[in-house]
């Protein structure tokens, strides 16, 4: 009797289980067929892709082609920054653009590291329609080499020759591959000519100090080791506590590999090349001298090692409470904090840019300007069902009209023409200063959708910056080494032997630098330093040097074109 009771119930559970497992099977089956079919069908964009374009007349190179078809279409757009938190469709500008072009965008961001996520998507063969990724990421190269994305020039030839008019000849050339194709459009790309012309260099590296302390100390000279140590001593003697908490005398952004290496070397104006040969900046005597200065400061307990170990949240907390005295830090990271500090109970506790560590010759810093690589590159994947809409959308966004629509919004609602110049409405400018999150969420203007941002076009529309931000920006602009963009990112990336050698060297350096700073005396410092140089050679540094030289020569050739 008992068994009969059990049977129907267990049979039901069983059926449910089997159904679930069947569903799982069909799902995985779908996934497996998709990648094999999509590259083969889409590698020829000519035939299958679009019925609508076949009926249209040949596209006119002087006329934006997006106007030909404004029927609703949804494009997925992968934005390779896990912190990117904006949506499409809620803000005013995004609604306006969708209404105008018919394109609604579904933004996807990686849950973890963009590079890894993209690699995963590549192996599964399912890519979003549009992809924006940091130009330095290894996945970008793999997307190009693995034929996962369309050559933009081919799409433009076919669907929208207007693209050539707006995409900027220089940047297209800069990203041209050896096979003659260009696969991505960069944002925030700066050419040296443009920087010379406008004085806007996009340099963001600054050396910052807290204004009130610096002035109370009588504006000490921080550019020499003696002055630097002296100021730290003053801080320790007189200002070691702030609002009941311990002051952190020093901070370097991006920890060892950035703040304490490349960035510090830029402040010291250490050259990248000497007599046409790539220069080994690490062994420059000025750099070593300053590392020894940091060691001395640590030995005298003038600095702590918190800047080498703090998590991002800890750094943020200290910054917001003005607990740092000096910072090797990009001013762009201070645009929210500085106005806040200037409006706090202690209005002088904000940060200003001053001359930081300098080389023995007292040369002023040579900072990285923006460069041709830009920040992110945007590509059109071959998984897209609407390559024609995608290229037209990109060319619209790249055009002055698209830039204006995304940056300023809709005329009359978010901006007006004042003296023949577009100007953001006053309440929005107000919002920019008080509640930037609301501004971006509700209106979506300015830097909300930066994936295709072209600084040449949009910078003229930017509202005047607050003085506490402008001081830092001007300082950085004045010290930018405009022609040094070519040296940025010369190091090998990826999985080649030379890239592995470089990755081992740089990972080792990340461990060595803290040892150098905490070394008990100069002799110990020298020993650790020599140990590092030996290890560096054994990991294959000579290959890295050769790679950098070849890369630099190739870039020079490209610039000369």
């Amino acid at each position: 009797m008992k068994r009969k009771l059990v049977k129907p119930r267990s049979a039901f559970i069983l059926a449910a289980c089997l159904m679930l497992s069947l569903a799982a099977c069909t799902n995985s089956g779908n996934n497996e067929t998709a990648p094999s079919s999509s590259p083969s069908s889409s590698s020829q964009p000519t035939e299958s892709s679009t019925p609508s374009s076949s009926g249209e007349a040949a596209p006119n190179p002087d006329e934006p082609a997006w106007k030909l078809d404004t029927s609703p279409v949804e494009l997925t757009w992968f934005v390779g920054a896990n912190w990117y938190a904006h949506n499409w469709g809620e803000s005013l500008t995004s609604k306006y653009v969708t209404e105008k072009t018919g394109v609604s965008v579904k933004i996807e961001v990686p849950s973890g590291e963009a590079n890894e996520q993209m690699t995963l998507m590549m192996t599964s063969g399912q890519l979003p329609d549009l992809i924006s990724m940091g130009s330095w990421e290894t996945a970008v190269k793999k997307l190009w080499e693995g034929d996962h994305v369309y050559a933009l020039n081919q799409l433009a030839d076919q669907y929208d020759p207007y693209f050539y008019k707006v995409a900027g000849d220089g940047t297209l050339k800069w990203y041209k591959q050896p096979n003659g194709n260009t696969y991505g459009v960069p944002n925030d790309s700066y050419s040296p000519n443009l920087m010379h012309e406008t004085g806007m260099t996009a340099a963001n590296q600054t050396f910052l100090v807290r204004k009130d302390l610096y002035e109370e100390m009588g504006r000490p000279d921080l550019s020499t080791p003696e002055g630097f140590l002296g100021a730290l001593q003053l801080l320790k003697d007189n200002y070691s506590k702030y609002k009941g908490q311990t002051m952190s005398p020093f901070f370097a952004q991006g920890n060892v590999p950035y703040g304490m290496t490349e960035y510090l070397q830029n402040l010291l104006a250490i050259p990248f090349e000497k007599d046409g040969k790539v220069y080994d900046r690490m062994t420059d005597p000025d750099y070593i001298k300053w590392l020894k200065t940091f060691r001395t400061a640590y030995e005298r307990k003038l600095i702590n090692v918190d800047f080498l170990v703090d998590s991002d949240t800890q750094v943020e907390e200290k910054t917001n409470n003005a607990r740092y005295f000096m910072m090797i830090r990009e001013w762009t990271g201070m645009t929210a904090v500085n106005p806040m500090l200037a409006a706090s109970a202690n209005p002088e506790s904000y940060y200003i840019a001053v001359d930081g560590p300098q080389n023995a010759g007292g040369d002023s810093a040579k900072l990285f300007p923006g460069n041709m690589d830009g920040w992110m590159v945007t590509m059109i994947s071959k998984s897209t069902k609407h390559p024609e809409r995608a290229i037209r959308f990109l060319s619209y966004l790249a055009s002055e009209e698209g830039q204006k629509d995304l940056f300023l919004g809709k005329e009359g609602e978010t901006w007006d023409t004042v003296d023949g110049k577009p100007q953001l409405k006053a309440d929005l400018v107000q919002l920019l200063e008080t509640d930037i999150a609301k501004l971006e969420k509700d209106y979506g203007v300015l830097d909300t959708y930066w994936m295709m941002r072209n600084p040449v076009i949009v910078n003229q529309w930017r509202p005047e910056k607050a003085p506490v931000i402008k001081q830092m920006e001007d300082f950085a602009n004045a010290q930018a080494d405009i022609d040094s963009g070519i040296y940025k990112g010369l190091d090998p990336l990826g999985d080649s032997d030379v890239a592995v050698a470089w990755s081992r060297i740089s990972q080792n350096w990340e461990e060595v630098l803290p040892e150098l700073i905490t070394a008990k005396d100069e002799a110990a410092f020298d020993k650790i330093w020599n140990g590092f140089l030996e290890r560096r050679d054994s990991y294959g540094f000579d290959q890295v040097v050769a790679y950098r030289q070849a890369e630099l020569d190739a870039r020079k050739a490209k610039m000369a074109e």
Binding site: A24, S28, K142, T313, Q314
Partner: protein
């Protein structure tokens, strides 16, 4: 039990409804655990995701030679073993003790509250919990304040900057986060003990300690043995998220575990072949450890997985 004991096949056919419920699990395991083994091949190839696997060139033991001759690999082995040993020797008994103590609490409401609160941290991701832990360990953090209030140290110490603390930090934070969760399985095992045993022992005059030792501990011995064998097999594994959150450039010497090594040397640069080779070698060692622990346990306690 009036029937004769049926043979294994007969039992299987009689219980076919119940037995077939395991099929989805087997399918799942086959898809996610067995099929991927095919791709272990790439450990012996120079594989690139840009081209199909079978077109990649075979390179034999190149990747194995590479990591076996890397001193950083051996350092990561040392760190992994160090952290795992602490966790195994000092961390393994804690959930058992916790479950035993919890079992002795008479007030049901209090018991449940304690149990719930103790396993809640398990549900906080390491990315969050690690951040909280870093704040505790920072200069103004609760650890420093406590130690200074107790007079155990006279000035603030940056605990996560000194490599010598790192293994202990991983041990303490892990214990704090996972004790309640790991205790659940023991609590369940304890709940399955026949109350008659306790009543009989009480009549025979056994005190609470004796009952705890002779009844509770002995009854959950199989559970303990199995979990111990699995823990030994996992000794070359580490909690990647935990270490990833707590590590920094200063404690890297003691923090880089095998997992982190694979991440740093392999995945960061997209070297899938290299990562696979290291993982493959690790799995072989883990299998050896599992067999060894199983064998030892069988000999010593008569409990084993197979």
């Amino acid at each position: 039990m009036f029937e004769r004991k049926p043979g294994p096949m007969k039992a299987l056919t009689r219980q076919w409804q119940l037995q077939s419920m395991v099929i989805p699990g087997i399918i799942w395991m086959f898809i996610f655990c067995y099929i991927p083994m095919f791709w272990l091949m790439i450990g012996f190839m120079d594989y690139s995701i840009a081209r199909p696997m079978l077109e990649s060139p075979f390179v034999g033991f190149k990747h194995f030679e590479e990591f076996l001759s890397d001193d950083r690999f051996w350092r990561s082995i040392r760190n992994t073993l160090g952290m795992s040993s602490i966790k195994l020797l000092l961390g393994f008994p804690i959930p058992i003790l916790f479950a035993l103590l919890l079992n002795e609490i008479r007030n049901l409401r209090f018991k449940r509250t304690v149990q719930t609160i103790s396993y809640l941290p398990h549900f906080i991701a390491w990315t969050i919990f690690g951040g909280i832990a870093l704040n505790w360990l920072g200069e103004g953090g609760v650890v420093n304040q406590l130690m200074m209030a107790l007079g155990l140290q006279d000035r603030e110490i940056l605990y996560n900057s000194d490599p010598k603390y790192f293994w202990w930090i991983t041990y303490f934070t892990d214990t704090l986060k996972e004790t309640g969760w790991s205790a659940i399985i023991y609590i369940a095992a304890i709940a399955g003990i026949d109350p008659g045993l306790y009543e009989a022992a009480e009549l025979d005059g056994a005190n609470r300690w004796q009952r705890m030792w002779h009844i509770t501990v002995q009854s959950i011995r199989p559970t303990i043995a199995i979990l111990f064998i699995l823990a030994v097999a996992g000794i070359l594994g580490s909690n990647f998220e935990q270490i990833f959150m707590l590590k920094n450039n200063m404690n890297m010497k003691m923090a880089e575990s095998l997992d982190l090594y694979i991440y740093n040397m392999g995945l960061v640069s997209g070297r899938h072949s290299f990562s696979t080779a290291v993982l493959f070698a690790r799995s072989i060692v883990a299998l050896g450890l599992l067999l060894l622990a199983n064998y030892t346990s069988k000999k010593l306690t008569n409990e084993s997985i197979f």
